[in-house]
């Protein structure tokens, strides 16, 4: 920068040391400084979204955390009773119980729901990647005009109702559904395939719903690739497969990681797809949480499931944020 002062984004990234504070005392002040020194309304502008998020996002988590350590009250009580009891007692005695968490670790139903969720999320992410990669590649290689149309076609389903798109699959996958009818009339199969309420249906539903989330980051990465690299590889005698695996794929890894996390994170906590399409004998974690809450009215256990789910997702979320920040910084340069 000509004026030798930090740009706004450097400012925001927190990389500005105390030395800059000295420099700031001289020269014409910037927008942020005016705001800071000259305007009383500034506090209000910060406070409004801040207070909202604290009250409706952070405080609810603290409540969930608190309730997850509470004692389950018998079924006969109205569901709002346990909290009040806990509030009154909490002032007098420490009422922290780990029983809900203990249950999470030892109850086979819970353990299997966890493992199943992770398995489903992992394999759907892999499947999604396999389906999305060639699609993103083809879009990135298309002419700019076609590219815009194709991108619109990919994004369009995302704007239509998620619930209805999942619902549409029921009509296709049912025993007397469209796919079975077509296959039967073509004589490919003799009796209908059982596709509803299977793992297969869950995979189809998740891959279908989250495909745009995988395609878009992959596309935005693949689109930036330098085509001359591939030509150079070709000139040096590499076949298309080899140049793909030694050039295109390694270069696209940031896109692969971003897309995979965008699919994996919501897939672990997916609720609608497994309840509509999935197995009836095997719950995923989100289904478990809602069952504990609505059916068993066991608030402490539901809260404990929520906290455990968050802990499980913290690592992938951190990785995702890390890559996002890196991309943002790279884009600014």
């Amino acid at each position: 920068m000509a004026r030798g002062r930090p740009r706004n984004d450097e400012f925001n990234s927190g990389r500005v040391g105390p030395l800059w504070d000295l420099f700031f005392r001289f020269g014409p002040p910037r927008w942020s400084q005016y705001i800071r020194s000259n305007w009383a309304g500034q506090r209000l502008v910060v406070a409004v979204p801040y207070v909202w998020l604290l009250l409706f996002f952070l405080v609810p988590f603290l409540i969930v955390l608190k309730i997850s350590f509470a004692e389950f009250s018998p079924l006969g009580r109205p569901p709002f009773e346990p909290i009040a009891r806990f509030l009154e007692n909490g002032a007098l005695q420490i009422n922290v119980l780990f029983s809900s968490y203990d249950y999470l670790l030892h109850e086979p139903l819970y353990v299997s729901a966890w493992l199943y969720s992770i398995k489903v999320a992992f394999f759907s992410t892999v499947l999604c990647l396999l389906v999305a990669y060639p699609m993103a590649y083809a879009i990135a290689r298309a002419t700019p005009a076609t590219r815009n149309v194709l991108l619109l076609l990919i994004i369009l389903p995302f704007w239509t109702s998620f619930l209805l798109r999942v619902y549409a699959w029921i009509g296709l996958l049912k025993t007397d559904g469209v796919i079975n009818n077509v296959l039967l009339s073509l004589g490919i199969i003799n009796e209908p395939l059982a596709m509803m309420n299977t793992n297969f249906a869950v995979y189809v539903g998740i891959v279908y719903s989250y495909l745009p989330f995988m395609i878009l980051p992959l596309y935005s990465n693949l689109e930036k690739h330098d085509h001359t690299l591939l030509e150079a590889a070709q000139d040096l005698g590499a076949g298309p497969v080899r140049s793909f695996f030694s050039i295109t794929f390694p270069l696209s890894l940031p896109g692969v990681i971003a897309g995979s996390l965008l699919v994996f994170i919501p897939a672990v906590g997916e609720y609608v797809i497994p309840t509509l399409l999935g197995r009836t004998d095997q719950l995923m974690v989100a289904g478990l949480l809602s069952d504990e809450f609505f059916r068993n009215r066991d608030w402490p256990k539901a809260s404990a499931v929520a906290i455990a789910m968050l802990l499980l997702l913290v690592v992938p979320i951190m990785i995702f944020q890390h890559f996002q920040n890196r991309e943002l910084k790279a884009a600014r340069r």
Binding site: R7, N8, V16, R30, W31, S32, I35, N38, G41, Q42, V45, V48, P49, Y50, W52, L53, F57, P60, I63, V64, F80, I83, V131, A132, P134, M135, A138, L150, L152, I155, L156, P157, W159, T160, S161, L163, L164, R165, Y167, A168, G171, L172, D176, G177, V178, N181, P266, G269, Y271, V272, T275, L276, A286, L289, A306, M309, L313, I317, F320, R332
Partner: protein
Amino acid sequence: MKRRITFPMIALCVGLLFLYAPIISMIVYSFNNSRLVTVWDSANSPTIKWYLALLKDRPVLDAAWLSIRVAAMSATGAVVLGTLAGLVLARFGPFRGRALLQGLTTAPLVMPEVITGLSILLLFVSLEQFFRIFFGWQFDRGMVTITIAHITFTMAYVTVVVQSRLATFDDSLEEAALDLGAKPAKVFFRITLPLITPAILSGWLLAFTLSWDDVVVSQFVAGPGSNTLPMLIYSKVRLGVNPSVNALATILVLFVAIGVALSAWLMRRAEKRREREMRLAESGR
């Protein structure tokens, strides 16, 4: 380069088929006469009787009306709060608590819906008790609680859109106005706001769509008797495929498709006009 059919192109076509086949089949079957959804009654189809039945379906109409109101209110609320948060994060420089604000605005983007729903419901329950004990005032969960929950998770999307829009241009215009003596509020309304209007509009649409579509969070925070359209559809769908849901889905899908196509066209036109103006400005120099 010669054009030939490659594996990625085939995959793209198959992929697009995969994306659209379920929607198209749903639309086709909404015109089917038979109550058994999957049996095509070729003698009496196509028919629009399911659409006509929909017009007389009181619960569906009520739920749709509730959903529209909730979505419009939450999108508006989310735009106000999200724009403020985006402005603060992009323009206010470092201040105490900035990192927490950034975290709070991005967290809802990746939070599983069941957790958001559960936590905010538990807050409402606590508030209910608080108001009952201290003020003797009973409030019911319904439209207001759904709207608050929706504002909270959709404002994150608006914040991201606005913040990244603000990051694409620096603050020299705003600075110039401040140097010339404009008050910060005036600078915001005369300079910043017009510049970020496209981001605000797309943020509003995004928030509206997300709220309109939400079933999980609503299910947690809605009281008895307040059903949004997705909640109603969800409860119908759990009982199996239903021709009136097909008809409803067709209306909603076409509605969205037309809206998206229209906004894409408008955006392209605005983009072209801006490019032309840029060229004019360049040549005028």
